[in-house]
Symmetry: C2
Subunit: 332 residues, 2 copies
Amino acid sequence: MPEFRQDPVSGRWVIIASERGRRPTDFEPPPPPSPGGFCPFCPGNEPHTPPEIYSVRPAKDDKWLLRVIPNKFPVLNVEGDVGRVGEGIYDRMNGLGAHEVIIETPLHDTPLAQLELPAIEEVLKAYHARYVDLKRDFRLRYALIFKNQGEAAGATLTHSHSQLIALPVVPKRAQEELAGARRHFEYKERCIFCDILRQELAEGSRVVLENEGFVVISPYAARFPFETWILPKNHQSSYEAVTGGQFRSFARILKNLLMRLAKTLNHPPYNYMIHTTPLQEGPNDYYHWHVEVIPKLTKVAGFEWGSGFYVNPTPPEDATRFLREARVEREF
Amino acid sequence: MPEFRQDPVSGRWVIIASERGRRPTDFEPPPPPSPGGFCPFCPGNEPHTPPEIYSVRPAKDDKWLLRVIPNKFPVLNVEGDVGRVGEGIYDRMNGLGAHEVIIETPLHDTPLAQLELPAIEEVLKAYHARYVDLKRDFRLRYALIFKNQGEAAGATLTHSHSQLIALPVVPKRAQEELAGARRHFEYKERCIFCDILRQELAEGSRVVLENEGFVVISPYAARFPFETWILPKNHQSSYEAVTGGQFRSFARILKNLLMRLAKTLNHPPYNYMIHTTPLQEGPNDYYHWHVEVIPKLTKVAGFEWGSGFYVNPTPPEDATRFLREARVEREF
């Protein structure tokens, strides 16, 4: 059973995935995937994956357009209880949680940015459906929805997919953001993200894209070159609250942004992650869900991991200009 | 001039190195360094570097064995004042600070682990000398001493070197550790790192190495496979306090650890970083300086950056066993 362990100094939790038990030789770089090799996410190979949790099919017996399955090698297990115990000055608990994979398309070679708009909308709706379902499990406190695109960004399979990890604790970075947003609200009685949007839309130099429902900015204190955030224009504390036409607006701006990143940076590997309110909290006035999109362009990772201190060689105003000026085939 | 910008939500500072001004095409992977190519750190090429700040020479006119120079492409400038100003809801300040390079050896191809013990001792003494000198500049609040070994760990030159960045702010990760250690001290009136050492030495399963002055452990909640920490055995709050024979003990355990990592993991790229008390604080009872050594083995970086949530596939107890059992030519 994997376990959570807490660092007694910083309070950070990590998952020790002991059954993965990787030995020194397991870290040799894997061979590059062969183009004609076996892909467990391709149609026809469904028996090689754990049973489907969710799918999109035009009609009941049609082929699937999207599938959600439990991760075959989960970092967490959904059975059992939290079982929090001390070990001297240390704390640990069972590796309880959910780890799911969203297979975004039956097409093996098509990245998310290239999917048709309705297909991207279905991906965003699948995130929502899984989010709402996992929220009903009161043991779970936070749902991380994220995507690793490209090997350098941590993807082990090329077939386009996202992941969802639901945790019995709120991760440190989310806690910090929630605490910062709460502090601002206590002082100003305004959502800090709404304040950021107001200032950015008035000033303009870091606004990459805007449509009726969403804004893309390159944040003032961007940690990484070409880092961008997608925020809903109107205050909304959780991804759970997204409804109806909002999915379409979100899909349009996400596709537009990913096309611009692909064009500007020659199809970079990237990560994105949805930041949202913890699962078991109701709607609130201080936090504002958003997506952080980070192309993986630089390698100064280790040191910056260790220090929490980032050097960004591309000012966000420059990144904004390059992304705005990218010529994409058409706008969405 | 580079500038610091603060994220209004998390409070994290980043350096926007605007004069580096990297454009999209600047992120294409650089060509691998040619074996016979020009190296600015090699003897004979001193005129191509900024003027020397510190050096080690057996006698005054001898050839150098170690040099410290300002970084030719610094992320910070040492001239000017902090100049902290607001921009609406945002905060920024001038990119004031120091950025130095410690060239550890005249030998182009010899990694730190392979240097003779006295040479490693000189490296650790050079860190100390520069630390003490920069502390005299009251504008500077924190000195980060770190090493990137190997291209995947962010090194751009192969000739073995370390770096020192002195900052007008205490970086977030250091702040978190200091705050955690202070909380423990307020509650227990004991240093948390001394408590960790006591428990680890009694328990044993995560103790990789030990000598008269230092202990190497693989921490209980290790974020990365084969992450290790080097701690002085007796309480010492700052790297500034290291004296005399301690440098020799530190050099011996560092060399031993790096040789074991090289043997166990086939010369992995790695980062290390000294965590210490802020420059302008005196000695204290709650914080305990140490080194974090992180081999760069996994690629799940982007997501973990974004969430602060780490999955480690190698339990620290396993890493400890592999490192202990590694057969190195001789012990130090």
